[in-house]
């Protein structure tokens, strides 16, 4: 299928839920109040590693206004988790990180609940703890989980081709080690839930989760009930970025409190709790890279060794570590690669999914190694990127099959936007240029060999369509994109399409928002449903127009015989006629889609996604040699996301991602002291403000993904994947020092400059 003229797709449409958000009417989790509702509070571990000898809750229970206190005794004491079941809703016998949930209180108000926490008495036996992943792998290190030898949760060891021969064939070899950083999502809304247990056995839980059905099965597992005993209703979500994909205990504890108290319980993380034990931060990794190149700049070999910090429990870190080890081999043309990756338990907060998954760690390392090679080879980095870039038809050494790919276009466009050639030719002192490329997926096949979606569209008798989908909106603009796709397929204006809130009792199974999957995966399912609704409309209209359904066209809310627009029927008239007749029925249809991808086998060979998105970013920085401050003079991002469904939304995704990337590169990171976070608040953990944002130019490649809805692919994560490496490469170009640990602080730059001067 080729490009076509669209009537809704590609138009600058505004958010379908924009009015509610601009007026404060949108109902977020903290805004939900139920009759008789109690407030919950969690008692958290003050120790990184300790045995619980005794818990006495009697004083807390006697406090006026307290309705119940719960501990592990109120749970089934079975561990749960996305990939490895290793975390409990409330600690069983032992705590493994500072902030872990030990007990919880429900009371008539927040103040009383907080007061009750102080009355819980616990006898502890502190244990030796381990905080560094590499130390944790050493013999004799304290064990976080007794059955995990050397604290290793998972190992990946993959070689494709002949790595030794490939290095022997290489003209230039670069080797280096890079460390990424624990970055938090810092959604302005923290995680929360309102659980309402009914004595019939049903838990209704309002949540600000971005993955409703995954939340449902994890919560059901932790509570020891069937999935349908749990109903998840999505509130408005104040930012997700991976942090609200239910890898934490918040909703489970709320459910346990509600059951015991017999009343609804609201449990909202404070900002500090969000840092201590809420959203699971980016998996921080130490990555050793060795790459071999031909004299002409072609990549010949790549070897990596990844040590990833899992924290005390496994959220999505197993999949994230896999991505860090393997995904980048889909960005450039590789033949011989080897990777060894270790996911290691430590006594710190569990790490997990954050926009970019494993990419922002892997690209921080690999894209800098490639930059080092370009300097050693004396070849312009933009040329190295271009000559090695993946192309349509490329199959990565691990089986990823690329259909559409406009990476070269992105490289050229990023170079053009930043003024690469001119600026390189007229280099000013202390200023430098950097660039890096990225690849991302549009959905990832890793949950039960399914990477699909489904949606139902009902066409009301007034001609307005309602999309029912369990994918949900987490702020990224999914509603608007889905409405645009349905409107395009149905031939109605976007104003005539709505999307309902996600609710696991009312919609079919959907995996939710992760892996940049919704535009591509959910978009295809919504389009399928819309096309079936259109069939029903056309059947009816064919009767009314005395024509054949094949000759009908729908456009702007009207249906007509091709070439006879003057005799068009409004969609509403057709919908009404379909319903109000003898034997009538409302128009409704369900659609589905499962990506044409292949689950990775035991050797990690497979095709993880149905489509791959590409991008290239470039930057010009100025480094102050006196202060070490890095100033971004201009930033440029070029993205290949196939057809852009809604330019306003797409630009917003890239702009927001670059902002998070800049934060990751220059300022963000939680610091720990013996496992205790020392800056768990917004004044000590800074995220970029409007003042920190540089001028940004961006562009979308002229691209069309044949398997996507109207040619579209994913985009959400792409924009933050390469940013840190882009900036670091520019710092090197500017002043000749390479920063290998994130973030790139003025202190590190100054220190590196001093070291460099000393060597002279």
């Amino acid at each position: 299928m080729a490009k076509q003229d669209f009537s809704v797709v590609g138009r600058r449409v505004q958010r379908v839920e924009g009015y509610e958000k601009a007026t404060g009417e949108s109902r977020y989790i903290a805004d939900i109040m139920l009759p008789r509702m109690l407030y919950g509070k969690i008692f958290r571990s003050p120790f990184p590693h300790a045995r619980i000898l005794n818990i006495d809750t009697s004083k807390a229970e006697r406090l006026r206004g307290v309705r119940c206190v719960v501990t592990a005794e109120d749970t089934i004491k079975k561990p749960w988790g996305a990939f490895f079941a290793d975390q409990y809703p409330l600690s069983v016998g032992k705590v493994r990180y500072v902030g872990e949930e030990v007990a919880a209180v429900a009371a008539i108000d927040r103040e009383t609940a907080e007061e009750a926490l102080d009355l819980i008495e616990i006898e502890w036996d502190e244990l030796p703890a381990v905080f560094d992943a590499e130390e944790a792998m050493q013999p004799g290190a304290p064990l976080v989980h007794d059955d995990k030898e050397r604290n290793v949760a998972m190992v990946i060891d993959v070689e494709r081709g002949d790595i030794e021969k490939a290095f022997a064939d290489s003209d230039v070899i670069v080797e280096d080690t890079f460390q990424s950083t624990p970055q938090w999502h810092c959604a302005i809304e923290t995680i929360g839930s309102v659980a309402d247990y009914s004595p019939s056995g049903k838990y209704t839980i309002y949540m600000n989760t971005q993955t409703l059905f995954n939340a449902r099965y994890r919560i059901a597992a932790a509570l020891g009930v069937r999935e349908t005993d749990v109903r998840i209703i999505q509130s408005a979500v104040g930012g997700g970025f991976g942090g609200k994909s239910c890898d934490d205990n918040n909703a489970i504890v709320a459910a346990i409190l509600s059951r015991k108290a017999g009343k609804p319980v609201k449990l909202i993380n404070t900002r500090e709790e969000e840092f201590l034990a809420g959203s699971r931060p980016r998996v921080f990794m130490k990555i050793y890279v060795k790459m071999g190149f031909r004299k002409n700049g072609l990549i010949r070999a790549k070897q990596t060794r990844v040590v990833a910090d899992n924290g005390a429990y496994s959220a999505k870190a197993p999949a994230i570590t896999g991505v860090a080890a393997l995904r980048h081999d889909t960005c450039y043309k590789y033949s011989d690669v080897k990777t060894q990756a270790y996911l290691v338990y430590t006594n710190k907060i569990p790490t997990g999914a954050f926009r970019g998954f494993g990419n922002p760690s892997a690209e921080w390392a690999v894209e800098q190694a490639i930059d080092e090679a370009s300097h050693e080879l004396g070849i312009d980095p933009i040329e190295i990127a271009r000559m090695n870039a993946a192309e349509p038809g490329y199959v990565s050494p691990h089986g990823n099959r690329v259909i559409s790919c406009e990476l070269k276009q992105c490289i050229d466009k990023a170079g053009e936007l930043i003024g690469w050639k001119e600026k390189r030719a007229n280099k000013k002192p202390s200023t430098g240029l950097g660039l890096a490329c990225t690849v991302h997926v549009s959905g990832k096949r890793h949950f039960g060999d399914y990477d699909g979606s489904s949606a139902t569209i009902k066409l009301n008798e007034d001609g307005k369509a309602l999309i029912l989908s369990g994918e949900g909106e987490s702020g990224q603009g999914c509603y608007t994109t889905m409405c645009a796709i349905a409107a395009e397929e149905l031939g109605v204006p976007i104003e005539d399409v709505e999307m309902s809130h996600a609710d696991t009792d009312l919609t079919t199974f959907c995996l939710g928002a992760f892996a940049s999957r919704l535009t591509y995966i959910s978009g295809n399912a919504v389009r399928d449903a819309a096309s079936k609704v259109k069939q029903q409309l056309f059947e009816q209209a064919a009767e009314m127009l005395e024509a054949s359904a094949e000759d009908l066209v729908a456009r702007d809310g009207k249906i007509f015989v091709r070439g006879a627009e003057s005799k068009a029927l409004p969609v509403a008239d057709v919908a009404r006629a379909r319903l109000f007749r003898n034997g009538g029925a409302p128009i409704v249809a369900s659609g589905k889609f499962d990506a044409d991808s292949v689950l990775q086998d035991s050797t990690r060979y497979g095709n993880e996604s149905g489509a791959y998105n590409y991008g290239c970013q470039a930057v010009e920085v100025e480094v102050d040699r006196e202060t070490g401050q890095v100033k971004i003079l201009q930033y440029a991002a070029a993205s290949d996301c196939g057809t852009v469904i809604n330019p306003v939304g797409a630009e917003g995704q890239v702009e927001g991602a670059v902002a998070q990337g800049i934060g990751y590169a220059l300022i963000e990171g939680l610091r720990f002291d013996e496992g205790r976070p020392v800056n768990p608040n917004f004044s000590d953990y800074r995220i970029p403000s409007m003042r920190d944002m540089p001028p940004l130019k961006h562009a979308f490649a002229d691209s069309y993904e044949p398997t996507g809805p109207f040619g579209a692919k994913g985009l959400g994560e792409l924009g933050m994947d390469p940013t840190a490496a882009v900036i670091s490469n520019a710092v090197f170009d500017a002043v000749g020092v390479r920063i290998r640990t994130l973030p790139i602080t003025p202190e590190k730059v100054l220190h590196a400059l001093k070291e460099k001067d000393a060597k002279k």
Partner: protein
């Protein structure tokens, strides 16, 4: 000990009984039911709880409710009149100045306080003022454009009956320049 307090919010008066240490944020959200004002960091850094008291921009998470007696409090719910959005609200919707929307009430109130105090700030002044309102979704570019659009009179007001037209009207304003778009 709770005491009776009369708060004057968005042109309406509310008689409530609160503890002297009750924060304005919680009085607004829980005692009055105006949940448009959001709690983000609880320490006056993120700006999600921004409201104006007597025309001055404050963090309601750092302001005692009892201290607001006799002063006019303005929250996001007080901006739209008769279903017609305030130009700043209209701009944030049209120009993509909001995504998840949790910081949006604070952003809009802060921007209004800025334009009330200084109708024609330059971009540096806008950045300086708005630096107290964090957003994790937009990267701020479209927030800046939304504010500039209002200043430059690009926002048509007077949409009656709730939701405005659907076409977004964002254009390049020098901060960012889209170069190529998929046809």
């Amino acid at each position: 000990m709770k005491r009776p307090v009369t708060l004057f919010v968005n042109g309406e008066s509310y008689d409530i009984e609160i503890e002297p240490n009750r924060l304005l944020l919680h009085a607004l959200r829980e005692d009055i039911g105006l949940t448009g004002t959001k709690e983000g960091c609880s320490i006056g850094v993120c700006g999600a709880c921004s409201v104006t008291v007597g025309g001055r921009l404050v963090s309601s998470c750092l302001t005692l409710a009892v201290a607001c007696e006799g002063k006019e409090v303005l929250t996001i719910e007080g901006l739209a009149k008769d279903g017609v959005l305030h130009p700043l609200q209209q701009a944030f919707v049209e120009y993509g100045g909001l995504q998840c929307g949790i910081c949006t009430p604070g952003q809009i109130i802060a921007a209004k306080a800025l334009l009330d105090e200084k109708p024609n700030p330059n971009e540096e002044e806008i950045k300086e003022w708005m630096a107290g309102n964090l957003c994790r979704c937009t990267g701020y570019y479209k927030i800046m454009e939304s504010i500039l659009a209002v200043m430059h009179g690009k926002i048509a007001t007077g949409h009656a009956g709730g939701k405005p037209a659907h076409e977004a009207k964002i254009q390049s304003l020098g901060v960012y320049k889209p170069v190529s778009k998929t046809s």
